[in-house]
């Protein structure tokens, strides 16, 4: 900073004799742009604050114990709850994790440890492309391969759809966090005569496990908030599903259905469900941000 200030005091340096008003003009432009940039930040942050505040104000009164443990009721009847939607969301995200964690972590390790192979380049590129895919397209895909074949909307189909949302995120964050593991650790392990597979599983993964875990948690958060794929695969239900092969309610689809319905009671419950959902999401995200996630690099973070 020092050298710049003293320099501006000395006036414009270009082509010797420019009038000092140009210097003033440059200072004005500089200040103006600073102000504009700050305005942009304010404009970007306001919606977050407003959305969070609105969800708490409107959702808070809707939440009580009964809301969390009761089944939905018909519109305009009191006492309706979202228990089945909560259970449904957790079931499907759980299923999705079972599928996506092994595949995502496996692919991520491959991207990081065999990064020079052709397969790694191509698959890594496809993976990045997949991250930006509209989730409703993934839902359509699962509808065609599972729902059309089994002629049944189901938690299973919903879980598969969510797993396709999670896999690219897990693969990329795994890749990023394992790349942060110093090469010297790998070399030290290999120098001790430990085979590569043991080096990868015991040395590389245990060093990078924080980043790996935060990637998985972030992908779980993302899947919990997905609506469009579930709309096409799990549909909804007013009861607890008896098996994973039946239509299943989820928090997000319930918010969509209730929020777009004309009934006041359902609309209030939509806000309540939104508050429950946002608490889950914020909890997972803040957990990652402030504990294990600090080791994530920019590229991994931007996938979220």
């Amino acid at each position: 900073m020092e050298h710049r200030l003293s320099f501006e005091r000395a006036g414009p340096m270009t082509k010797s004799n420019l009038p000092s008003s140009i210097s003033l003009w440059r200072k004005i432009v500089n200040k103006l742009m600073t102000v504009l940039v700050i305005v942009a930040v304010i404009l970007a942050v306001i919606p977050l604050v407003v959305i969070l505040v609105d969800v708490f104000i409107k959702g808070g009164p809707a939440i009580n114990i009964g809301f969390l443990i009761h089944l939905p009721t018909a519109p305009n009847l009191p006492g309706g709850g979202i228990a089945n939607a909560i259970v449904g969301s957790f079931t499907m995200v759980g299923l999705a994790s079972l599928i996506s964690v092994p595949i995502g972590v496996g692919a991520g390790i491959f991207f990081s440890e065999w990064s020079s192979s052709k397969l790694s380049t191509i698959s890594g590129f496809m993976n990045d492309v997949l991250t930006g895919f509209p989730s409703i397209v993934l839902g359509l895909f699962v509808f065609v391969i599972i729902v059309l074949t089994s002629k049944q909307f189901s938690a299973f189909a919903g879980g598969v759809a969510l797993s396709f949302v999670m896999i690219p995120i897990i693969a990329r964050t795994t890749d990023e966090s394992l790349k942060l593991v110093p090469m010297t650790l790998r070399e030290a392990s290999m120098a001790l005569g430990i085979p590569r597979w043991k080096t990868v599983l015991k040395v590389v993964i245990s060093t990078g496990k924080n980043g790996l875990l935060s990637g998985i948690l972030l992908s779980v958060a993302r899947a919990t908030g997905e609506t469009a794929p579930l709309l096409l695969t799990a549909a909804t239900s007013s009861y607890f599903a008896k098996s994973i092969f039946q239509p299943t309610a989820s928090l997000t689809v319930l918010i969509y259905n209730y929020g777009t319905s004309p009934y006041a009671t359902w609309q209030t419950q939509a806000w309540g469900a939104a508050l429950v959902l946002i608490l889950i999401m914020l909890g997972l995200n803040l957990l990652v941000k402030f504990t294990i996630g600090r080791s994530l690099t920019g590229n991994a973070r931007m996938e979220m």
Binding site: H3, E8, T14, R26, N30, M33, T34, V37, I38, A40, V41, A44, P47, L48, I51, V55, P102, G104, V105, F110, E113, W114, L119, S120, S123, G124, M126, N127, V129, L130, G132, F133, P134, S135, I136, V137, L138, L140, F141, V144, P168, A171, K179, P182, P195, R196, W197, V200, T224, G225, T252, I255, Y256, G259, A274, I278, N285, G298, R301, M302
Partner: protein, 309 residues
């Protein structure tokens, strides 16, 4: 012993390569299955599907043009509003806050959290808060004072292209600003120092030396944001009104490719369902193109700067 070691390595590499192959298979499978699902509609309507402007399932009329138009228009509104703001946020965090690491980090966290809010909650907030606000304080004044311009000539009800574009802008700002910020962070320090040593002001350094250096990465962030806007479904479905229209009226209800699928899929069957899957196929190829372009641009910018061991 030697044989055993080799086997462990082989098993691991096969398992991991299978996972990597799965991802390629997923993208290929998507294309194949969506094509299979939409085959009846492709065979029946041919290319007229893409250029037809009428969507009346009860009369077996399926034209995707109003939805392509709606997707383009809402994304354009989102980019016009969102891109400058994102650029501002990124410049603020990476250029202005260099000496305030903690504050910059916190701001980054806040912007990232905005990205974590589920689409359906944006939609709910859009329906109950944003629509009344925009309708009463933005759309009605614009309509009353500038209603002679075709853009603003429809009486606003709030469920329209404009609201959808604003919601999209709010949703893509976190993505675009986070990516832009990361791109600005890899601009070498010497680039800035050289400019400062010529006596440039902060803004001149940003404008003449940082932004030009980062332009391909910034364009990548721009395209990535565009991709998000293209595919975003729930929030748009909830606020756009879901009536297919091709009109320059920003305050007219409309529909997008994704909102059409979300809104009508449940009640469709037969050729109608197949037509909706074909809409998904269109969305697939657009998303593939946009994302591949964005990744190539970002890759060009950040290649070589990441930790490679």
């Amino acid at each position: 012993m030697r044989f055993k070691l080799l086997r462990g390595d082989t098993i691991l590499i096969i398992a991991l390569a299978a996972a990597a192959l799965f991802i390629i298979g997923l993208v290929v499978g998507l294309a194949v299955e969506l094509y299979r699902g939409s085959a009846p509609s492709i065979v029946k309507f041919g290319p007229s599907f893409l250029i037809g402007s009428k969507w009346e399932p009860s009369r077996d009329l399926f034209g995707a043009l109003p939805f392509i138009y709606g997707t383009l228009l809402t994304s354009a509104i989102a980019i016009v509003i969102g891109f400058p703001i994102s650029l501002g946020v990124a410049v603020f965090i990476s250029e202005k806050l260099k000496s305030h690491q903690t504050f910059g980090y916190l701001l980054g966290v806040i912007v990232d959290l905005l990205a974590a809010v589920p689409s359906v909650i944006y939609g709910l907030w859009g329906v109950f808060i944003l629509i009344p606000f925009l309708r009463d304080y933005v759309e009605k004044p614009l309509h009353n004072s500038l209603g002679f311009i075709p853009l603003f000539s429809t009486t606003p009800f709030g469920y329209d292209f404009f609201t959808a574009g604003v919601i999209l802008a709010i949703m893509i700002i976190p993505t675009m600003s986070a990516v832009t910020r990361d791109v600005l962070n890899v601009v070498p320090k010497s680039q800035r120092e050289a400019m400062y040593s010529l006596g440039a002001t902060d803004w001149e350094v940003t404008q003449k030396s940082v932004l030009p250096y980062a332009r391909s990465g910034i364009f990548g962030a721009f395209v990535l944001g565009l991709g998000r806007a293209f595919g975003e479904t729930m929030a748009v479905t909830m606020v756009i009104g879901n009536i297919p229209h091709i009109t320059s009226n920003l305050f007219s209800p409309g529909a997008t490719l994704s909102s059409l699928i979300a809104n009508e899929f449940g009640e469709s069957s037969g050729i109608y369902k197949s037509a909706l899957i074909e809409i998904g196929l269109v969305l697939f190829f657009v998303a593939l193109l946009i994302n591949a372009l964005a990744r190539l641009l970002l890759w060009r910018m950040t290649r070589g700067t990441q930790a490679k061991f």
